[in-house]
Amino acid sequence: MKFAIQINEGPYQHQASDSAYQFTKAALEKGHEVFRVFFYHDGVGNGTRLTTPPQDDRHIVNRWAELAEQHNLDMVVCVAAAQRRGLVDDGEAERNQKDATNLHPKFRISGLGQLIEAAVQSERLVVFGD
């Protein structure tokens, strides 16, 4: 079955990203397809490559990135939510004249249309967050 995942909360503050990760991992292990993981609202914070949690804590960003690497996941960060919260890739840095970038290379910034497309293309959309 084809799943789409939506995450609305940031890492370490809310369990949403952890729950979504465990769900996505279990779905992939069962042989399901995950069409896209869409990070919306504070969920865009899951995409910063500068995260440095204590060594005995889980690294939420890298954990997503590793899952994406293993399963060729498409992980999309909402552009409007990212701009508000300072999540920047090369394209956004150039467009908005920023002097730095922080988006992890396994994520990409795109628009809400990507969420709608994921919902249409997938058989189930599972939403995590408040």
């Binding site: 949403a16 465990q22 279990a26 069962k30 189930r124 959309l125 599972v126 408040d130």
Partner: protein
């Protein structure tokens, strides 16, 4: 259309469990996870609500019970404990997933 309803907030903190209970139809299922697992505990005001829902299956996420120190013996009889793989199976089995966030 039978839906899987997910509730992730404690019924003692937010109204999402009650909102969910007010909309569920026979044949649907409810999964309690994150702080929603508190709605699956015996001896609270939620027990009667869970038991009186006709034709609705209730599930609770085991890892989230464990993370909160709630033992399986304290789960309402008839509420099935599942893991993340069970969560995935429910999402696939029911026609859609409704998140009561």
């Amino acid at each position: 259309m039978n839906a899987l309803h997910t509730v992730n907030k404690s019924p003692f903190e937010k109204r999402s469990f009650d909102s969910c209970m007010g909309h569920i139809l026979e044949g649907s299922a409810v999964l309690l996870y994150e702080d929603g697992v508190y709605a699956a505990m015996k001896g609270t005001a939620m027990e009667g609500k869970v038991k009186s829902a006709q034709g609705v299956r209730f599930y609770v996420l085991g890892p989230d019970l464990k993370a909160r120190g709630v033992s399986e013996e304290r789960v309402i009889d008839g509420v099935e404990i599942v893991d993340y793989a069970g969560f995935v199976d429910l999402a696939a089995e029911l026609d859609k997933v409704v998140a009561w966030v």
